[in-house]
């Protein structure tokens, strides 16, 4: 007896004493309800049920609203949450574009570059709401073109249930819209970098409305919208848009640059006279922001919160980016004698673009190889285009156009699944050619009607003063 007491005391404030106390309290709390049940079973049960189940009732109502899809509610909500977060991340890419482009241009044109970026995201999302979304996803159509109208209440008619897209599109109608809307504007943003420092603002704005508002959803409908490319025997595969977003933008940019011409003084009789970036910190910040946003771009393209695909895509995306940077660093260091920061930055993006078509179907080694090759390709392409007197201040044509095609082809080389190299090439060329021709025609018409270029004087003065009457950094 003594020893027992001693041992109890020596333990002191032992956990088991607390648990015993807690158990006693819980039991005593439960007791009165039990007692009531015995005395007045019917009334007591009802009262107790109402008291305890209030918040649970609300939840049950939510479940009931899903109808037959109630069992999928948990995964549905998780996936939708991820989708809207991914949409916000893709939106952030516009901040990345804005900082990257302004960093790589001259100080006297920064306001103009930023202004174009603000305009593009604004008009991009609006046109997508007015007609883009329904043109991009027309439902049943001839596979080539179907003009859509404005979006309505996308929550209606089960649009806010699992039934909207099931496992393959685990989000509500509005989630689907907003995620895709963020993608749409990136096409024109790609062009804005390539034409920077000499394009006429008003002409560019008109071009952007048409390129993003019309061309993008039409081209996109051929694949994601279920059109021609999606209905081939072995369908075209472009996971997150190496072709339908990046090559689309890159080749549109090429067309515009060809119509526009190079910046004054860039190509002289004695060779290329470089026009260096005015702020490498801004450019680097831009690239890192773009990579951050890319987690939404690729990660969100899983179209659900399916853990296996999500983890894989995040991994391949990252590896592709890193390998791209390394590839560009190695190739540019060898070719140019000194390591060039702007090439390293472009290389990171090239790796990301290269991985975008195939991130969900490749292995770790595949991701590394695709990224490495993209990094090498982008350096060679940038130098080649410059030597061919195609003036691209930010390397957009090489990063998005050339590497977009590479990423699309890489699906057939490294992708685990049923893919056809012929189809991949066909799809890549089809969309790229369409973007190029569309941009070339529109920009040429604008050139004839109103000019697409500022005057030599305005270009020398800087677009900030000539087009905006403002300075980027104050004085």
């Amino acid at each position: 007896m003594n020893t027992k007491y001693a041992s109890i005391n020596s333990i002191g404030a032992a956990p088991w004493k607390f648990l015993l106390l807690a158990a006693t309290l819980l039991f005593s709390y439960a007791l009165p309800a039990h007692a009531d049940d015995h005395e007045e079973p019917a009334a007591a049960t009802e009262e107790v049920a109402e008291e305890e189940a209030g918040p649970v009732d609300d939840y049950m109502e939510l479940l009931e609203a899903q109808g037959e899809y109630a069992p999928a509610y948990d995964f549905f909500t998780t996936s939708m949450l991820w989708t809207v977060i991914a949409a916000a991340l893709v939106f952030l890419m516009h901040l990345g574009f804005a900082t990257l482009e302004s960093g790589l241009c001259q100080q006297k044109n920064v306001v103009n570059v930023l202004f174009k970026n603000v305009f593009i995201i604004s008009i991009g999302v609006i046109t997508y709401a007015f007609f883009g979304f329904n043109t991009h996803y027309p439902g049943d159509f001839n596979g080539w073109f179907s003009w859509g109208g404005m979006i309505g209440d996308l929550n209606a008619e089960g649009g806010n249930t699992w039934g909207y897209g099931g496992l393959g599109l685990a989000m509500t109608g509005f989630g689907d819209f907003i995620f895709q809307a963020m993608f749409a504007a990136t096409g024109a943003t790609i062009v804005s970098g390539a034409v920077a420092e000499r394009v006429k603002l008003s002409s560019f704005m008109i071009f952007a409305v048409l390129f993003v508002g019309v061309a993008y959803p039409v081209a996109g409908s051929w694949h994601w919208g279920g059109g021609y490319l999606a209905s081939l025997e072995i369908p075209f595969k472009d996971f997150a848009g190496s072709t339908v977003v990046h090559a689309f933008g890159g080749f549109g940019a090429l067309a515009c640059v060809m119509v526009l011409g190079p910046r004054k003084g860039k190509y002289t009789e004695n060779g290329i006279k470089p026009i260096p970036a005015h702020s490498f910190p801004l450019a680097a910040i831009g690239v890192f922001l773009l990579m951050f946003g890319w987690y939404g771009f690729n990660g969100g393209s899983v179209l659900s919160a399916e853990p296996s695909a999500l983890g894989l895509v995040f991994t391949t995306t990252t590896l592709g980016a890193c390998a791209g940077a390394i590839g560009a660093i190695v190739v540019s260091w060898v070719m140019l004698k000194k390591p060039d920061l702007s090439m390293a930055l472009n290389g990171l993006l090239a790796g990301l673009v290269g991985i975008t078509a195939n991130a969900d179907v490749i292995s770790v080694s595949g991701a590394l190889i695709i990224g490495l090759i993209a990094g090498g390709i982008v350096v060679v392409s940038i130098i080649f285009l410059d030597k061919s007197k195609i003036d691209d201040p930010v390397g957009a044509i090489s990063v998005h156009g050339v590497c977009g095609i590479w990423g699309t082809i890489a699906v057939a080389i490294f992708g685990d699944g049923d893919f056809s190299m012929a189809t991949q090439i066909k799809g890549a060329l089809l969309v790229s050619a369409f973007a190029f021709i569309f941009a070339y025609v529109v920009f040429s018409v604008l050139k004839a009607l109103m000019g697409v270029r500022v005057s030599e004087e305005e270009e020398e003065r800087g677009l900030d003063i000539s087009e905006h009457g403002q300075e980027a950094y104050g004085s």
Binding site: G271, P274, P276, L336, D340, M343, I383, D386
Partner: protein, 112 residues
């Protein structure tokens, strides 16, 4: 009164400023400038294309002193900013016709 203008290498500024305070110089104006002499520029490379940057960053000091301090100030500047390598800079001595202290309206030597 003399105005001493010195073009020196930017990283030497602190040393020169300290040397001048030691001999009793109480004020100076400093500006960031670009220039070259026989040093010429250097080559930079951007995205595969080389270009020469002719103008190198320098710092210009302007110090107004009474005549008796001139040689001391010039020596201090030269000794503190000299590296022996090309591009060290130059010192110019200019006459000042008149000087005015804005706060009090004083003129002449007492304005310095």
């Amino acid at each position: 009164m003399k105005l001493i203008k010195a073009i020196i290498k930017p990283f030497k500024l602190e040393e020169v400023k300290d040397a001048l305070s030691e001999i009793g110089v109480e004020g100076m104006t400093v500006s960031e400038v670009k220039g070259f002499g026989r040093q010429k520029g250097h080559t930079e490379i951007y995205r595969g294309s080389e270009y020469t940057v002719d103008f190198l960053p320098k710092v210009k000091l302007e110090i107004a002193v009474t005549d008796d301090l001139v040689s001391k100030v010039v020596d201090a500047i030269v000794n503190a900013s000299q590296t022996g390598k090309i591009g060290d800079g130059k010192v110019f001595i200019l006459p000042i016709e008149e000087a005015v202290r804005i706060r009090t309206g004083e003129k002449g030597d007492t304005a310095l």
